[in-house]
């Protein structure tokens, strides 16, 4: 079982496979820094799509040899994104990554009906693995970025994506906590209704490979002491691997709070695509981007 993000990187390196990254509109300091590190360390090979001159300029400013990459000239954010996605679709690359392009334009290329790489009918969502000193293992969270108010079907898809990711980390039956403000069921809280339905689906094997309970608050999900104090029996047992949140607005501040106040570090990926897609905010640290690349390699290797 992988317990830290560095162990995750190790695992990818040990596999000996080099995955090919296609980066859209790559002329960005953090992106080239992270990709350069991945190439130098032997995680991946990279195609940088964008304005050639600018890419080379950024490489020099980061003291990275541009010859480490294959640079492909491209004139606009949209064409760079479309080309990066089609490289993956054609099999010329394994992973597509967003550079300096806006998320909207990038995802438009990913989701394009004819040329995109969405799995037909799949829900597009986002899963993050978070490492922090105050928790004894990685914590997978969903969805901090894509679905504002997931309905039942979307929540089920989110859970399945997170479970699949945890499986790739060697967690065979991850403990999934469906997060709410309280552990009670109330018809006034629609999420508590969705969660009850999902728990039963997990019990009946309709959602596989997990131990699921919810609604649970974060204390009950992640701290055994609270469980004892409240006298609540939950198979998650204060030992959650996965936290599923009811909305972006609850999940996003949660992970940002961990980054800011709990020395958290993360790796995240878009799910619902036929190949891994890395989307990180432009403000994200280089180290996080590096971990995202490693995560994408891990998931690509488990396809």
């Amino acid at each position: 079982m992988i317990r830290t993000l560095d162990q995750m990187v190790e695992k990818v390196l040990l596999s000996g496979k080099k995955h090919r990254l296609a980066i859209s509109w790559a002329q960005d300091n953090n992106t080239i820094g992270a990709v350069g590190k991945a190439v130098i360390n032997g995680l991946a090979e990279a195609f940088l799509l964008g304005k050639k001159n600018e890419i080379i300029k950024v490489c020099h400013s980061q003291s990275i040899d541009p010859a480490l990459f294959t640079i492909i000239g491209s004139e606009s954010e949209s064409t760079a994104s479309a080309e990066a996605v089609s490289m993956v679709k054609r099999g010329d690359a394994d992973i597509v990554m967003k550079g300096l392009v806006s998320t909207d334009k990038f995802l438009k290329a990913v989701m394009d009906k004819e040329n995109g790489i969405m799995i037909p009918g799949a829900v597009l969502s986002y899963v993050c693995a978070i490492e922090m000193p105050s928790y004894h293992k990685l914590l997978f969270i969903t969805d901090p970025a894509v679905i504002p108010f997931p309905d039942l079907d979307q929540k089920i898809a989110m859970a399945e994506y997170a479970i699949e990711m945890a499986n790739c980390f060697g967690i065979e039956k991850p403990k999934v906590a469906l997060i709410g403000a309280s552990e009670k069921i109330s018809r006034h809280f629609e999420n508590s209704i969705h969660y009850s339905v999902m728990c039963k689906m997990a019990e009946r094997g309709q959602i596989k490979n997990c131990i699921m309970d919810g609604p649970l608050d974060i204390f009950l999900a992640c701290e055994r002491k609270t469980m004892e104090i409240k006298g609540i029996n939950t198979p998650v047992n204060g030992d959650a691997d996965i936290l599923l949140f009811p909305s972006i607005e609850s999940c996003n501040p949660f992970y940002k709070g961990l980054m800011l106040f709990a020395n958290g570090e993360l790796a995240g990926l878009i799910r619902g695509t036929s190949s891994p897609v890395i989307v990180m905010s432009r403000s994200e640290k280089q180290k996080s981007k590096y971990y995202c690349i490693a995560l994408a390699c891990l998931m690509a290797g488990n396809k």
Partner: protein, 302 residues
Amino acid sequence: MLKKLEEIRAIIANEPVKKLVLAAAHDHDSLSAVLRASKDGIVIPILVGDKESIQNIAAANGYDISDLRIIHESQTEAAVEIAVKMASSKQAEILMKGKVGTSTLLKCVLNKEWGLRTGKLLSHFALFEVETYHKLIAVTDVAMNIAPNLQEKIAIINNSINCLHKLGIQNPKVAVLGAVEMVNENMSATLDAALLSKMNQRDQIKGCIIDGPLAFDNAVSLESARHKGIKSEVAGDTDLLLMPDIEVGNVLYKSLVFFAKAKVASVILGAATPIVLTSRSDSEQAKYDSIMLAAAVSKKQA
């Protein structure tokens, strides 16, 4: 664990005999069941109705009713009102329907001033003795609530659990019935079932073990549940079957009686006293057993 309806008799044997008031008692079927129960020491009847008809029916059936309390009132509605008032003023612990329509009786039961309202939902509880099952099995609601919503299902379960506890079944196993044991978003009964299970796990519904959705076969047969790979404390050992709606419930009730030759006792719960509200098509034995069931679940009066 109870296997036969007649075992209920042992439960009431140690308690003071309860008073049953028969509303519009000039009714051959219900009166003969009441008189038989009276003779067996199960209840003490109070008969409200047309005195002459009552005496004629008793005589024709060979019962001596000279010792029984009879309140003469030949008008049906007035007789029902008297009977209900006796129950609400605690002069009787069981109310039973005689020669009166169900809607008239319920109108009186629900009267805001002198009825038997408790704030709880009224629900029908049927207890079956089926030869092919290893214990008595309760079924609810087959007669009162047409299409209960989640809140109503909770109330129906609570009424029924309370009743099963009085029958000595400590932690009854409740199966929430569906057409399938899987959760299906297009089948609202399966969604309610999932919610009821979770509410039970969270102690929001207490005193029982709830699982559902379960299809009828895996609710009553451990082998069926095993075939389907269902892990459930309830499957195969159900004490109470919660019906998704009255149509399913009513058909199940009647198929148990007609095809499985099951014996049944039933009672209306949720009012201040249990109400015996059998239909004309119920056998005399079913009426008798229902009186016995009502006696077992009625509260002791000081």
